[in-house]
């Protein structure tokens, strides 16, 4: 029983790791492209925008279990087999790219357009804007989106297990459900909960770190509400101190 669980755990982590990597490699540029080609944006291109949007919506609207089955020929063509963790990674990646791309889109869209204008007024081009403004400014939000994607992929990987993908899902179905080993089923459930919780905590920690360096301003609104208000007093000067600082700087300038 222990080697079974051990192998299943590793399979799940394998599937999640690789599919996350592909989701980022595919979703990040596609999400950016979606924002940049939008009407009035830097690389305005209505055709690319509409086609890309439609493709991403298609990927998002298929239930994942159907997507896996539908992609069986594709998986076989890519990795040479339609069962096992490697085959599941193909389906997971295809499912996760549009998911992450949409999250990237909304994160990047939230970046204040004034910052883009400021960099344009300095003579910055499109690449400068993407790499020095859009991505760094959206980073906390992108990490939060990545956390959501990883957790979704853990869930999907369990689903992939149901159709022969291996991993904890496969274990729960074949041993827990089909052989009525309720104990094993419960253990896999606990393991999934532990993994998901760990990922979420790690993601939150990173987001908090990134948001913390810019004071309150950089924290996403939802996060700001959740964090205790006294987290920042060390970094944010009291109004009086700020006023004094302004007064002294004014004096210096004069």
């Amino acid at each position: 029983m222990q080697p079974l669980l051990h192998d299943a755990c590793l399979d799940t982590l394998f599937m999640v790791w690789w599919s996350t990597l592909y989701a980022v490699l595919g979703g990040l540029p596609l999400g950016l492209l979606l924002v940049l080609t939008d009407r009035g944006a830097l690389l305005q291109n209505v055709v690319v925008n509409k086609v890309l949007g439609a493709v991403l919506n298609l990927g998002r609207s298929l239930p994942f279990i159907i997507l896996i089955v539908w992609l069986i020929p594709f998986s076989r063509a890519v990795v040479g087999t339609s069962i096992g963790p490697s085959a599941a990674v193909v389906a997971l990646a295809v499912g996760a790219v549009p998911f992450f791309a949409r999250l990237v889109e909304s994160s990047v869209r939230e970046v204040d357009h004034g910052l883009v204008e400021a960099v344009q007024s300095m003579g910055g081009g499109t690449w400068t804007i993407v790499f020095k403004v859009l991505l760094p400014q959206a980073l906390p939000s992108l990490i939060a989106g990545l956390t959501t994607t990883v957790i979704t992929l853990i869930g999907y990987s369990a689903m992939a297990g149901a159709v022969g993908g291996g991993g904890l899902g496969n274990l729960a179905i074949t041993y827990g459900y089909m052989r009525h080993e309720t104990g094993l089923m419960n253990i896999t459930i606990v393991l999934l909960i532990v993994i998901v919780t760990a990922v979420q905590l790690l993601g939150d920690l990173v987001v908090r770190r990134l948001a913390g360096r810019g004071g309150r301003q950089a924290a996403p609104v939802g996060l700001r509400r959740l964090l205790p208000a006294q987290r920042t007093p060390a970094t944010v000067p009291a109004p009086r101190a700020a006023a004094e600082a302004e007064a002294t700087t004014a004096g210096k300038a004069a």
């Binding site: 830097l42 305005q44 204008e117 300095m122 003579g123 990134l210 700087t249 300038a253």
Partner: protein, 349 residues
């Protein structure tokens, strides 16, 4: 330094056309602080954004430091390399500062230098120099989120100066600040204008800003420049709306049979005690109903509304005396005391 000719911007959305700029001719001389005022929607924001082509004008030309920027414009919304190069020598300051919250103050100022391709060491040295110039040398490692509004705008100004610009564009740079901070930021802009010979084009809806630092001003209405000139020229223009707004005088006559006169001071006469001279010479009692005097560009200028006893016909001589002193005198309509722009123009003739 900055010249726009026939600048027009038309926005089209869902078949409707909105003309934001309607043939704007603006001329900003080298080394002056030029203020464009107007209400929201008058087109002043579009105008300043057209100067560095953040907004592509529909027609007309923009020339900055002898370079025709409209000729450099690339295709579509992307700026060509030549335009980007030209922009890097035009500083811009924004109402909401537009600092990157993910970068420290120093790193924010280094951003334009990164775009210019300076080495790490040069960037660091220049950024610290600029921080010193705006009086924030101790905040280099702070993040914008830890600064007050005035400090953020100082960082914004330092960043705008990084490319050694000859021209600084200020888009409502003090509108989000309290009055005291506004004064200190305006003082900084004035200092930079004088020390670095920086030409400043600023837009604002606050008359106080124009009064405090501008050498010249223009008033925009409905996408057109309706008045423009140096502050002294505007004051000297009878019935100038901008002058009336800059130096508003109010006050109604204390009774019937009084002559109410608006006296405008500019140039030499502003230093003479003409009111007391008038009182002594003609032995008339003068009441001051309202006054707005200020020092603009080192000269005393302003307007004063005074009341003389008796009807206009009885006061022709004292009014003539004021005109002889080189003052501009407008007689206000006694029967319908109204805002300053309803002045009778007879005084000017």
């Amino acid at each position: 330094m900055i010249t726009t000719t026939g600048l027009t911007k038309v926005y089209r959305s869902r078949g409707r056309e909105v003309t934001a700029l309607d043939g704007v001719d603006l001329h900003v001389r080298e080394g002056e602080v030029y203020g464009v005022v107007g209400q929201s929607g008058a087109g002043k924001s579009t105008l300043i954004r057209c100067v560095n082509l953040l907004e592509r004008p529909t027609s007309g030309t923009v020339t900055v430091a002898g370079q025709d920027l409209t000729a450099l414009a690339g295709r579509g919304l992307r700026a060509g390399a030549a335009l980007r190069e030209a922009r890097s020598h035009i500083g811009m300051v924004f109402q909401h500062f537009n600092l990157l919250s993910s970068r420290t103050v120093q790193s924010n100022i280094e951003l334009p230098l990164e775009i210019l391709g300076l080495s790490g060491q040069e960037r660091r040295r220049k950024a610290l120099d600029l921080l010193d110039l705006v009086g924030l040398a101790d905040k280099a490692k702070a993040y914008p989120g830890q600064l007050s509004g005035g400090q953020k705008q100082r960082v914004g100004i330092a960043r705008a100066l990084a490319g050694d610009p000859k021209v600084l564009l200020s888009d409502e740079s003090t509108s989000a600040l309290d009055p005291e901070t506004t004064r200190s930021i305006l003082q900084l802009l004035r200092d930079l204008n004088q020390q670095l010979g920086l030409t400043v084009l600023l837009i604002t809806h606050e008359m106080d800003v124009v009064k405090t630092i501008c050498d010249s001003a223009a008033l925009m209405k409905g996408g057109r420049v309706v008045e423009s000139g140096t502050v002294a020229e505007l004051l000297a223009t009878p019935g100038s709306e901008l002058a009336a707004e800059l130096f508003p005088v109010g006050g109604e006559p204390s009774g019937p049979d009084r002559t109410v006169v608006d006296v405008t001071f500019h140039g030499e006469a502003a230093t003479q005690p003409v009111i007391s001279q008038l009182s002594r010479t003609y032995n008339v009692d003068i009441s001051i109903l309202g006054a707005a005097m200020d020092t603009v560009g080192g000269k005393q200028v302003g307007r004063m509304r005074i009341e003389l006893p008796g009807r206009f016909e009885e006061n022709v001589v004292p009014i003539g005396f004021l005109r002889e002193q080189g003052l501009q005198v407008d007689v206000a309509d006694v029967h319908t005391p109204a805002p300053a722009d309803a002045l009778l123009k007879e005084g000017a003739k």
